[in-house]
């Protein structure tokens, strides 16, 4: 860090080598487009180069830099047509008045997810569903479940409490789960119709 602050190009290059893949992947989670994600990655490192002097060395570098990267991606996203986001309340499971579940569900998706080809298809669909989430939820599920970052690191990067992170993560997972269930149900109906078609 200090070497970069002193203008050491080699140190900056080492930083690029170390973080470019993660920054690209975070950017892709926001933008879902390779070209935009690459440009956002470049923006993030440019900001790093220019603003490294403002970094407080008593803090964790990665959480500061990942925030820089997310800001760069969102800045680029704002230039595009606003995305349509969903109301998560519509995807929270429903229960009887006594708080218990009405009936089993979701077996088809579990069976489908065991098959590699179907699981791959579901993963592609899931990426689209994540994009429908409001930003605060999308960042959390992308960083924890896709990037597999430690929840404590994500909470620090996003400057939120662990409790808030868990709440957002759970809501986001419930949404993606429900959307995948819908996809599986449609696929199953299609299969059944094809089977009975003359």
């Amino acid at each position: 860090m200090r070497r970069i602050k002193r203008g050491d190009d080699q140190a900056f290059r080492e930083m690029v080598d170390r973080y470019n893949a993660r920054v690209y992947s975070l950017s892709y989670g926001v933008l879902r487009n390779s070209e935009d994600a690459e440009e956002a990655t470049q923006d993030a490192f440019l900001t790093l180069y220019r603003k490294i002097g403002t970094f407080d060395e008593s803090k964790k570098f990665f959480s500061w830099f990942y925030r820089v990267a997310l800001n760069a991606a969102y800045s680029r996203a704002r230039r595009r047509k606003p995305a349509i986001t969903v109301s998560l309340e519509d995807y929270v499971p429903r229960f009887r008045d006594d708080g218990h579940a009405a009936s089993p569900e979701f077996a088809a998706f579990v069976e489908g997810a065991e098959d590699e080809a179907i699981a791959k298809d579901l993963a592609e669909r899931a990426e689209g569903f994540i994009a429908e989430l409001p930003d605060a939820y999308r960042d959390v599920i992308w960083m924890v479940d896709v990037e597999e970052m430690k929840p404590a690191d994500v909470a620090e990067t996003l400057d939120i409490s662990i409790a808030a992170l868990k709440s957002r993560l759970h809501r986001a997972r419930l949404f993606v789960r429900q959307r995948l269930l819908e996809v599986a149900a449609v696929a199953q109906t299609g299969d059944a119709e094809r089977r009975v078609a003359p």
């Binding site: 203008g7 470049q42 440019l46 009405a102 089993p104 899931a126 993606v176």
Partner: protein, 84 residues
């Protein structure tokens, strides 16, 4: 958390994340597992929740553009005066 306080709603909406990430205290975990042992809908839900997690992990590894690091270096060099 007492056994008679656990409903499917409470388990699914309030407790699942901590159960899954291992941060739930052992007594609560035990009570929750007692509920699961007698609740097929919650078992099915848990399986689907885990299947969702496995599906999301399949989004990795994402293909990183070749020469991304070089592109970044060129971009930064082009925009920064090296005297900076």
């Amino acid at each position: 958390m007492k056994h008679d306080e656990i409903t499917c709603k409470r388990l699914i909406l309030e407790s699942l994340v901590e159960y899954e990430d291992g941060s739930m205290p052992e007594p609560d975990r035990h009570e929750l597992e007692r509920h699961l042992a007698h609740c097929p809908p919650c078992i099915v839900f848990l399986k689907s929740y885990r299947a969702t997690g496995r599906t999301l992990k399949m989004l990795k590894p994402r293909e990183i553009p070749k020469n991304l690091a070089e592109a970044v270096m060129s971009f930064v060099r082009a925009r920064c005066d090296k005297k900076e």
